[in-house]
């Protein structure tokens, strides 16, 4: 019973909590992750625009130069030097040098620090790409000068010959644009071309399979294969991926860490802006919130379980106790019913016995009368006859007294209050108990105040109280004998009855529970543990008190205080 109740209670209290926590946690986490990713994308978009505009800007200067001046002007080295100086002045460190190349790839004019006049670029990859296009932005490479850089070039045609105006853009100036992007501890950005070659210095070690991962981006796919189909499947397991109009974001597991990545196209998809950050870092706040929630959740669950265990055990114990009490009550009712029928039986017997006893006494009396006649006067045993007959009369009266007491006690209980002389009640009960006390060698000593005022109480209830207390006193003294003292006195507006025995006394532990129902020190089956608690209840109801003094080994005294009847008090 306890286990079922406990299980149901735990289930009912924990299930909604777990469901709620789980659902809320799941929704909160999902939307928070989305928000974080969105935020990162927005941030990155700004940088993407910055970088794109940086590149566009540089290209447009060269375009302006090529459009504004003639081939002859630009092949004049002094003029070119002058233009480079102007550009370098406006954008310090961005433009490294300027040069004009003919269609064969020979640099026919040059302005800059390096001695690159007449340099042959015909085999350089950038030149082969650049000569086919009106504008060109190269990937980053080291080239002839052995430092990373990239080239912006514009193709022009004057007459029948084609020529290129090209400028070298310093890598560091460009790199700093990307290096600025730092979020959290691990969030950083880098630029790669479609083959996965770095176009900037990666600040942190990038994902090892970045080149493979790049294949998920549609612009990379298009620029390497030259056709638009479904984005390729990356061979690296991607935990989650989402495509936006201008970005791909997702999460990848590498080196036992989850890394979120965002790809964005640069330079019309030739380059890719890559942002990556450890998941733990990006979602550090939600992780902290989850730890906190769990730290509250688990002790909470534990608390609920403990409380449920405690409460259900308590409740079951209480139910068991009340079951027991009800059982005891039933027994009490049965007991009372038994007593009532015994009472009726006793009353019947008393009446039936009194008649034959009355006849015997009457006959003995008649014999006494006859002894007075003349003829018996001389008999030697006349005195013995008289004594014997008198004794029959005395014993007859004794029978009458016994049956009378039996009848008065067996009377049906009635809780109607009457004015009662407590001394009379004590006398009645002592009469009934006298035989039992004589049996146990107990002397009874009474000290009753003859001027005791009346009290208002139910006679049967009061009888029950004294019967119980006196019986307990006799029990306490056992068969070894002792002295039972019953005193009645007046104390203020109270009638006080002291019932003192010289029994074994009450121990301290028992003393604190002595008026508790079902508390008994008697062997199983000998006492219900109800006697004193009923007495206590009766006296309490009358507005009186029932108290006890006891010392172990010396004896016990009960004090019954009953308020005197208002009219007689």
């Amino acid at each position: 019973m306890t286990r079922n109740m406990t299980l149901i209670l735990i289930l009912v209290s924990l299930l909604p909590l777990i469901l709620l926590a789980g659902l809320m946690g799941y929704h909160f986490e999902t939307s928070y992750r989305e928000k974080v990713l969105e935020h990162l994308q927005e941030l990155l978009e700004k940088h993407q625009q910055n970088i794109n505009s940086f590149l566009d800007e540089k290209l447009s200067y060269i375009k302006v130069l090529a459009d504004s001046y003639t081939y002859d002007q630009l092949t004049n080295e002094a003029f070119l030097e002058n233009k480079l100086a102007i550009l370098q002045h406006a954008y310090s460190g961005v433009f490294v040098d300027l040069g004009v190349l003919n269609s064969a790839g020979i640099q026919i004019s040059y302005a800059g620090n390096l001695k690159l006049l007449k340099a042959d670029y015909s085999n350089a990859q950038w030149f082969q790409e650049a000569i086919k296009k009106d504008y060109y932005l190269s990937d980053v490479f080291s080239g002839l000068r052995r430092t990373p850089h990239f080239i912006v070039s514009v193709k022009k045609r004057s007459g029948d010959k084609e020529w290129l105006l090209r400028a070298t853009i310093d890598f560091e100036a460009f790199n700093s644009l990307v290096e600025q992007i730092r979020i959290g501890d691990t969030g950083s950005a880098l630029i790669v071309n479609s083959k996965g070659e770095f176009q900037t210095h990666p600040r942190i070690e990038p994902s090892p399979n970045l080149a493979d991962l790049l294949r998920v981006a549609p612009w990379v796919w298009t620029s390497t294969r030259g056709e638009s189909v479904e984005p390729a499947q990356s061979r690296t397991p991607v935990e989650m991926i989402s495509y936006a109009s201008n970005a791909v974001s997702g999460m990848v597991k590498s080196r036992n860490r989850n890394t979120i990545f965002i790809f964005m196209p640069l330079k019309s998809g030739e380059w890719t802006l890559v942002y990556q950050q450890d998941e733990d870092d990006a979602f550090s706040q939600i992780n902290r919130a989850r730890s906190l929630a769990l730290a509250i959740f688990f002790p909470g669950c534990l608390g609920i379980v403990l409380v449920v265990l405690f409460l259900s055990r308590n409740m079951v114990r209480r139910i068991e106790k009340s079951d027991l009490e009800r059982e005891m009550m039933n027994e009490q009712v049965i007991e009372a019913g038994k007593l009532a029928s015994i009472g009726e039986l006793a009353a019947g017997i008393a009446h039936e016995i009194n008649n034959p006893v009355a006849i015997m006494v009457e006959e003995a009396g008649w014999m006494e009368d006859l002894l007075d006649e003349e003829e018996f006067k001389d008999s030697g045993n006349i005195d013995e006859f008289r004594r014997s007959l008198k004794q029959i009369g005395i014993q007859g009266v004794r029978c009458r007294e016994i049956t009378h007491k039996l009848l008065s006690f067996a009377r049906k209980t009635d809780p109607v209050h009457r004015e009662i002389q407590v001394n009379d009640t004590i006398g009645e009960i002592l009469g009934i108990c006298s035989q039992r006390s004589k049996f146990n060698n107990i002397r009874i000593q009474t000290e009753l105040d003859a001027d005791l005022p009346l009290v208002s109480a139910s006679p049967t209830e009061l009888q029950q109280v004294f019967m119980n207390l006196i019986n307990n006193a006799i029990d306490a003294m056992g068969s070894g004998g002792g002295l039972l003292e019953v005193r009645s006195r007046v104390d203020g507006d109270m009638v006080v009855v002291d019932i003192a025995d010289t029994g074994h006394g009450i121990s301290n532990t028992a003393m604190s529970r002595i008026f508790e129902p079902f508390f008994t020190t008697k062997p199983v089956g000998k006492g219900t543990g109800l006697g004193l608690s009923i007495c206590y209840g009766i006296i309490k109801k009358l507005g009186g008190t029932l108290t006890v003094d006891s010392s172990v080994g010396l004896g016990t005294t009960f004090h019954v205080h009953i308020p005197t009847h208002p009219q007689t008090g």
Binding site: A350, N354, A358, I359, G365, V397, S408, R411
Partner: protein, 127 residues
């Protein structure tokens, strides 16, 4: 001399012995062994004091007491009952019984009660 006493008791032995003992003490006594007989004797002879048992077959003691107090208010009734309950005592006294004695009763008490009842009866007659 003395008062005419009527003993009413279904215990024949008791009624007769008690009657004999009261006669010995100078009373004129008759006995009835049930309610009907008692009512009949009351009609035929003059009765001063009635000694009445309560529990009897047929018309019981309480009923006789009630009728006597109605039809012969000058007859004093002394209850002599084996059932010693206080309720009975209070009830019979409220019906007008002169005295209530419990069986077995000492002959001295009976004589005393009869004498007191007789004096009261005589006093009433004398008036």
């Amino acid at each position: 001399m003395g008062t005419d006493i009527l003993i009413v008791d279904d215990e024949v032995e008791l009624a007769e012995t008690l009657a004999e003992r009261l006669r010995l003490r100078g009373f004129s006594v008759s006995a009835a062994f049930n309610g009907e007989q008692a009512l009949q004797i009351m009609e035929e002879t003059s009765v001063g004091v009635m000694l009445l048992d309560l529990k009897m077959p047929g018309i019981d003691g309480m009923e006789i007491l009630r009728r006597v107090r109605k039809t012969h208010p000058d007859i004093e009734v002394i209850i002599l009952s084996g059932h010693g309950s206080e309720q009975d005592e209070t009830y019979s006294r409220s019906l007008g019984a002169f005295e209530y004695l419990r069986k077995p009763a000492d002959i001295g008490d009976v004589v005393d009660a009869v004498k007191r009842a007789g004096e009261l009866g005589q006093g009433a007659k004398g008036r």
